[in-house]
């Protein structure tokens, strides 16, 4: 394929594959320091590479996350670079302008850091603990469910539904999250349940 010509064939002739990339392996260490000064250090040296899937659209491009530190080793891991997975059959290492900037989604300034509450009529969010937040959510849910649960309809048919609280599911969570969500939501009798599929 043409795209092979552009990337992989060239990489082969260049004598280095992606996975094996490290400065030492390429003999860079032997180069005198004065010579090295002209070339910026290769930023992926000594990073951990993890396979992931782009979180945006449904092309589901394969991506490689490069981190300092490894979760597998139980370390704190900071992602420092994101790039397309050249082995992925669909994207072949390419990424769109969103995928190519995934790193700045991971470390966006507006990433949420802690649970917060905005009380009725307030003009601000206040930080609360996870325990407080979850207990509050569950207390709200139970109060509403207990007050508005419909066990039987007017014809006496068992309907066991709860329609005064709704759940809007995500579009980028995993299937495993989706299933856990499904179980929790449906077991409570929630019918007002939808996802991003329509919009």
């Amino acid at each position: 394929m043409n795209m092979d010509l552009s990337r992989r064939a060239f990489l082969r002739t260049a004598g280095a594959g992606l996975a094996g990339t490290s400065l030492g392996a390429l003999g860079f260490g032997e180069v005198e320091e004065a010579h090295a000064a002209a070339i910026r250090p290769f930023k992926l040296a000594a990073t951990t590479e993890t396979r992931n899937t782009c979180t945006y659209c449904s092309v589901a491009c394969g991506i490689l996350l490069y981190s300092k530190g490894s979760l597998a080793k139980g370390e704190k891991a900071e992602i420092i670079h994101v790039e397309g997975d050249p082995d992925h059959p669909t994207n072949r290492g390419t990424l769109c302008p969103k995928g190519a900037a995934l790193l700045d989604m991971v470390r966006a300034e507006t990433r949420l850091q802690s649970p917060r509450i905005r009380k009725a009529g307030s003009d601000k969010f206040e930080r609360i603990s996870w325990d407080e937040a979850l207990d509050r959510v569950v207390r709200h849910m139970k109060a509403d469910r207990d007050a508005n649960f419909v066990a039987k309809n007017k014809d006496g048919v068992t309907v066991n539904r709860w329609t005064t609280t709704g759940f809007l599911a995500a579009s980028a969570t995993t299937n495993e999250t989706a299933f856990a969500t499904y179980k929790v939501v449906r077991s409570a009798g929630i019918l007002v349940f939808d996802n991003q599929a329509r919009v």
Binding site: T50, R51, N52, T53, T55, Y56, C57, S58, V59, G62, L71, A77, E78, P89, T90, T94, C96, P97, K98, A101, M105, A108, E109, R111, L112, S114, R116, I117, K119, A120, D123, F125, A133, V137, V138, H140, N153, T158, V159, G166, F167, L168, S171, A172, T173, T174, N175, E176, T177, F179, A180, T181, V184, V185, L191, V192, N195, Q196, A197, R198
Partner: protein
């Protein structure tokens, strides 16, 4: 997608209509450019705007938004009148030859059975004539006046090239050029792929837009073949998966249904789900419905789902309306009939139509929970952001609880792409601050709710108390545990069918695929179509073998695709009635005399004889439907209906406004504008630099496309005195926005029924949080009405007015 992204490389012709793949799916679009570069494939783009896809197209044809059905029916009319039909395919693999019941008819834009008061049809006449043998009656000669083919022929005859030009504004010569190129693919050796997305779905007749193209693809013989298919380009990374797993009001996982309240017990529920074959010898796969349903109930409630309690059938909530979709949810909220709402990674304030209504609706809630990795406008709907969100917090009594979640880089699990590939991914980063995974949060909610009910009692607690929660750490199930549940497992030892003394599958073992599921409660399976994803062979979703024999683009050893790792749906149709590939160079599977084999997992029983069992085994007919019986609310054939807000009247059915069976809420009807007041045809869309409302939080993307704008033609700009880069106000009956103006040659006025129609393009991505400049987006303007079948809002066609604003022009 019936096919996959990588399969597009096999096509001869790509039609992008109802979408803008280059813009929205650049890396998937790669396979279009590959097909062009390596196969000499051609690309047609039909769109109101000259898009990024159009920039590399061989042929671009303009069309007025909301007139796709007229266009598509026009193409079908062309193909039929020029005899450009894949006849063998059409006769054998579609219901062209099926006789429709006497009494069925169509006139003035309406089918038989319309009830104006209910805005609904009695669809009983929209069906086949059933013979005394219990099978549908067919006329293989296609002579019968009521056979589907003749009804179709008559139905599309209205849509002449002249009529298409009148309705769509597509110049006749361009339309005919499109027809010629498409018609060529009626050859068994030529294929065409349809790539579409929200440009077709976000209409009050979205489902019928898609049907229109599906019908065309069927008569051209382009379904089930390499390089063919109906390829819905899903928007979000796992929206396919969330839909597969049934996170919708009316679904159970695997496209099973939540019971309606008329289905008062399990027996009644199953009585309409027999799926008896409509032709002799045909396979009707949905006959296995009960196995899938019971296995799901076992996954939900484990030992508490017993044959005695109909596998806890009553524990499922039952619907009193067709669906509690988002529009109904916000309507109920707006009426004050809802108290709580949980938004998991979703930003309805920006995403839903009629933002003013959304704010009013959210303001009536007692509590709103927002789980998200990022700030969202929804979580801050109560906060005043000047003209961008002009609210008074002190008047809003909704308590908002914002929960920080991890993002893709910090969690593990699988995502299902548009081509149904379920790919596992691994976590690489430590979550920021106190962010937690969604699984943890959902587990916490369940565990705490369960504890409260156990302690305090309350409304019908059985389904909560008995929810099957078999995880090693109930407070934090692992993705693997959940994936194994989705796959399914033996609840108890399953005896071998031939030798009852042997155990076919021991208790606790993973089932190999859904073929092993049972309706007696001995198996559990979270989502039958995902079965096989994590069986005893391991996590098949984590496979990363790039081998691809014959370069078909199937990549059978890369991850797992549902169902049973099949990459092209209906692939039996890639071969003729005898089981030989239509095009030997594009072989997918073939009948070798005793079984089906080839490069893909056959979409048919491996030993099903080719001349007996037809390819569309999910239909009881075994064939595909040109005439869709009573399956769709708005007709067995697509009809051109104007959008609810249209710049012109419907020339084929002048009395009908919008889709005659689309659901309308009272207050929303009053908020529809007319072309007298709002003369310009607006449409909303995505830009390639941004993803929904997420990337405005990403500094890089914010720099690449910083500020909200609208696009108009030079002609409209001149008429209104708008300068390029200047500021404008755009308003509809529902709201008003301010934006920069991009004046472009890529939008041109369309001449519809002799009058010019000006298009105003309004991209989506801005809001009042994030790194990009604050902006409005289109949903302050969009109408609150959805598709008649699935309630997708009509975001693509509505009316606005526009005027220049004083102020700096940059």
């Amino acid at each position: 997608m019936t096919n996959s992204w990588t399969d597009i490389r096999n096509t001869d012709l790509v039609v992008i209509m109802g979408g803008n793949a280059a813009e929205a799916h650049p890396c998937g679009f790669k396979w279009v450019t590959e097909a062009k570069a390596n196969r000499g494939a051609k690309l047609i783009v039909v769109d109101p705007r000259f898009t990024r896809s159009a920039s590399v197209a061989d042929l671009y044809a303009p069309i007025r938004q909301g007139s796709d059905i007229a266009f598509l029916m026009g193409v079908i009319n062309y193909c039929i009148s020029k005899d450009k039909v894949q006849w063998e395919y059409t006769k054998a693999f579609t219901n062209a030859s099926y006789i429709v019941k006497e009494g069925f008819g169509y006139a003035d834009g309406l089918f038989t059975g319309y009830d104006e008061g209910k805005r609904d049809y009695d669809r009983s006449s929209w069906d086949y004539e059933i013979g005394p043998d219990g099978f549908a009656v067919v006329d293989e000669t296609l002579q019968h006046p009521r056979c589907v083919w003749n009804l179709l022929k008559a139905h599309v005859a209205t849509y002449t090239p002249e009529m298409v030009e009148r309705i769509c504004g597509t110049p006749k010569d361009k339309f005919l050029k499109v027809c010629e190129m498409i018609a060529e693919t009626s050859s068994p050796q030529k294929t065409m792929t349809s790539m579409y997305a929200l440009g077709w779905t976000q209409h009050s007749k979205g489902s019928q837009n898609i049907r229109g193209m599906a019908m065309l693809q069927l008569i051209l013989g382009n379904i089930g073949v390499r390089g063919g298919g109906m390829n819905a380009l899903r928007g979000h990374s796992n929206i396919q998966g969330l839909t597969d797993i049934g996170l919708m009001s009316n679904l159970l996982p695997g496209y099973l249904n939540i019971p309606a309240e008329r289905e008062k017990d399990f027996a009644t529920y199953m009585s309409s789900r027999g799926f008896k074959p409509l032709r002799p010898g045909q396979m009707s796969y949905w006959q296995n419905y009960k196995k899938f349903f019971v296995s799901f109930q076992k996954a939900m409630w484990g030992a508490a789902a017993t044959p005695e309690n109909d596998f806890a059938y009553d524990w499922l909530p039952k619907l009193d309306v067709p669906a509690y979709d988002i529009l109904r949810a916000f309507e109920l909220m707006h009426q004050g009939k809802m108290n709580g709402y949980v938004c998991q990674g979703f930003n309805p304030l920006q995403s839903f139509p009629n933002k003013a209504k959304s704010i009013a609706a959210l303001s009536k809630l007692k509590f709103l929970v927002v789980m998200d990795p990022l700030e969202t406008e929804t979580a801050r709907f109560w906060e005043n952001h000047g003209e961008y969100n002009d609210v008074d917090p002190s008047k809003i009594q909704t308590e908002v609880i914002q929960l920080p979640t991890t993002c893709f880089a910090e969690d593990e699990g699988s995502l299902t792409n548009s081509g149904r590939w379920i790919q596992w991914h691994w976590a690489a980063g430590t979550p920021p601050g106190e962010a937690k995974t969604d699984i943890w949060i959902m587990a916490q909610i369940h565990q705490r709710l369960k504890a409260l009910y156990a302690k305090e009692g309350g409304a019908f607690a059985d389904p909560i108390l008995n929810l099957h929660w078999p995880y090693k750490n109930p407070a934090d199930p692992t993705p693997e545990e959940l994936a194994k549940e989705l796959n399914g497992y033996a609840v108890e030892d399953i005896p071998d069918a031939t030798d009852p003394t042997k155990v076919a599958l021991a208790k606790g073992k993973q089932v190999v695929s859904f073929a092993a599921l049972r309706d007696d409660g001995k198996t559990a399976c979270g989502c039958w179509i995902y079965s096989g994803c994590f069986n005893e062979a391991g996590n098949n979703m984590a496979r990363r073998d790039t081998s691809d024999p014959d370069d078909t683009g199937a990549y059978l050893k890369w991850s797992f695709a549902w169902p049973v790792n099949r990459r092209i749906l209906y692939n039996r149709a890639s071969a003729d009635v005898q089981g030989k590939a239509w095009d030997p160079s594009r072989k997918l599977i073939e009948w070798d005399g005793s079984k089906w084999a080839g490069y893909d997992v056959p979409d048919i029983a491996p030993t099903a004889k080719p001349d007996t069992v037809m390819p569309f085994i999910m239909n009881p007919e075994g064939v595909s439907r040109l005439f869709t019986r009573g399956m769709m609310r708005d007709g067995p054939f697509p009809v051109h209906y104007e959008p609810f807000e249209s710049p012109v009247t419907n020339v084929v059915a002048p009395k009908i406004r919008g889709n005659p069976v689309a659901r309308l809420f009272k207050g929303d009807i009053e908020q529809f504008g007319t072309s007298a007041e709002f003369p310009y045809a607006a449409t909303s869309y995505r830009l390639t630099e941004h993803f929904h409302f997420w990337t405005k939080h990403v500094s890089v993307n914010a720099a690449l496309q910083p500020e909200f704008f609208v696009e108009i033609s030079h002609e409209l700009a001149k008429e209104k005195g708008i300068v390029n880069g200047g500021r404008v106000r755009v308003w509809s009956k529902r709201g008003s926005v301010k934006a920069k103006a991009v004046v472009t040659k890529r939008i041109k006025p369309l001449i519809c029924d002799g009058k010019p129609v000006h298009v105003v393009g309004i991209p989506l991505h801005w809001g009042f949080t994030g790194a990009a400049k604050k902006g409005f987006g289109p949903n302050a303007l969009t109408p609150f009405v959805g598709d008649a079948n699935i309630e997708t809002p009509e975001f693509k066609a509505f009316l606005v007015n526009i005027e220049p604003l004083a102020g700096p022009t940059v």
